[in-house]
């Protein structure tokens, strides 16, 4: 069986990291950071937590390359949807159509 068995201590560590991340994001939410930093901090923490779940709980760290190609492709596609849609909304004000 070529399956990799992840040791229990890894799971416990990741679990602890996730709880710490949650506490951290709640704390950060109440701090008034300048500019858009609140959002950036929150998203960074969320992405980090999600990455740990994907790599360790979902075993992607130990999986065939095909799996993480698929995962990357899905995120990339969601990125395409966001990027091209916002290429519309964020440039609407740039040209004044004269009425």
């Amino acid at each position: 069986m070529s399956e990799h068995i992840v040791p229990v201590r890894v799971y416990i560590t990741i679990f602890a990291v996730l709880l710490v991340g949650t506490a951290l994001t709640v704390w950060a939410a109440f701090q008034d950071f300048p500019w858009q930093l609140n959002t950036i901090v929150a998203m960074t923490i969320a992405i980090t937590k999600a990455t740990f779940v994907v790599l360790y709980f979902m075993h992607v760290r130990y999986s065939a390359r095909l799996i993480w190609v698929i995962l990357t492709a899905a995120l990339f596609w969601m990125g395409i949807m966001f990027a091209l849609t916002f290429s519309d909304y964020w440039t609407r004000g740039w040209i004044k159509v004269g009425y």
């Binding site: 992840v6 229990v8 609140n38 959002t39 709980f57 065939a64 698929i70 969601m78």
Partner: protein, 248 residues
């Protein structure tokens, strides 16, 4: 990937080997790959709602902050913890199946299910709070239209909506349909997950899974972790976005 050609079509090692697969490894690979492809569809599915959220939040930031501040951050944070713990117990269930420890495996699956149901219970409390504060959007519940009481300046009643900046009740409604659509869809996926876990528990009790064959446990685990990840994003986006603008 390619295995030796078999001449006898009925060479089977394990009773769970399906007739069209050469061996258990191919079957396991196919099952895992299949679940990942399905998760890709789920990413794109939720992605559409995240897109709508991002757009309307960028258009109405003050309204979204006001609306978000009305959500119960304690319940939201507790729910986040509950789901993370359930992901841990699910991962442990897979582990115990891989090493053949039957009792802890079943226990972990039951714990995961209980935690999932706890999440849903807390969600139901949150939804009922919204109902009582008249924050269900549109005419979703006939007879209970979106009609929250707006707090006057200095009024600290937590059941009333406290507006920040240029927020209006109308734009706050925009937040609430997104809130219900996203958490509702997430809750639906949790309910489906609970059903899948029930199936796993029943078949685990029948000793259906062993270190050789436990694809369903692994694959349903992947689904469960995905649902957890969606919540990891929903929590800050829905509950935390305006807290730094709260006063007191």
């Amino acid at each position: 990937m390619a295995s030796h050609a078999t001449t006898a079509p009925e060479v089977h090692g394990h009773p769970a080997l399906q007739h069209h697969f050469e061996n258990m490894e191919q079957q396991r690979e196919a099952g895992t790959l299949g679940m990942w492809v399905f998760l890709v569809t789920e990413i794109m599915f939720f992605g559409g709602m995240f897109l709508a959220y991002t757009l309307y939040r960028s258009l109405y930031p003050a309204a979204f902050a006001s609306a978000s501040n009305h959500l119960d951050i304690t319940l939201g944070a507790v729910n986040t913890g509950v789901l993370i713990l359930s992901s841990f117990t699910m991962a442990m269930a897979v582990y115990f199946t891989q090493v053949g420890k039957h009792r802890p495996q079943v226990l972990c699956l039951i714990l995961t299910l209980v935690l999932g149901l706890t999440f849903l219970g807390i969600k139901a409390k949150e939804y009922s709070d919204k109902y009582h504060d008249h924050l269900i959007p549109g005419r979703l519940i006939p007879g209970n239209p979106f009609n929250p009481a707006v707090a006057e300046h200095g009024d600290t009643d937590p059941h009333k909506l406290h507006l920040i900046g240029d927020a209006t009740v109308e734009k706050v409604q925009m937040f609430y349909w997104i809130y219900f659509a996203m958490t509702g869809m997430h809750a639906l996926h949790m309910i489906i997950g609970a059903g899948l876990l029930t199936y796993l528990i029943i078949f685990s009790l029948k000793r259906r899974f062993d270190p050789e064959y436990h694809s369903p446990v692994e694959v349903i685990g992947l689904y469960w972790h995905f649902v957890d990840i969606v919540w990891i994003f929903l929590f800050p986006l829905l509950y935390l976005l305006g807290r730094h603008l709260e006063h007191g």
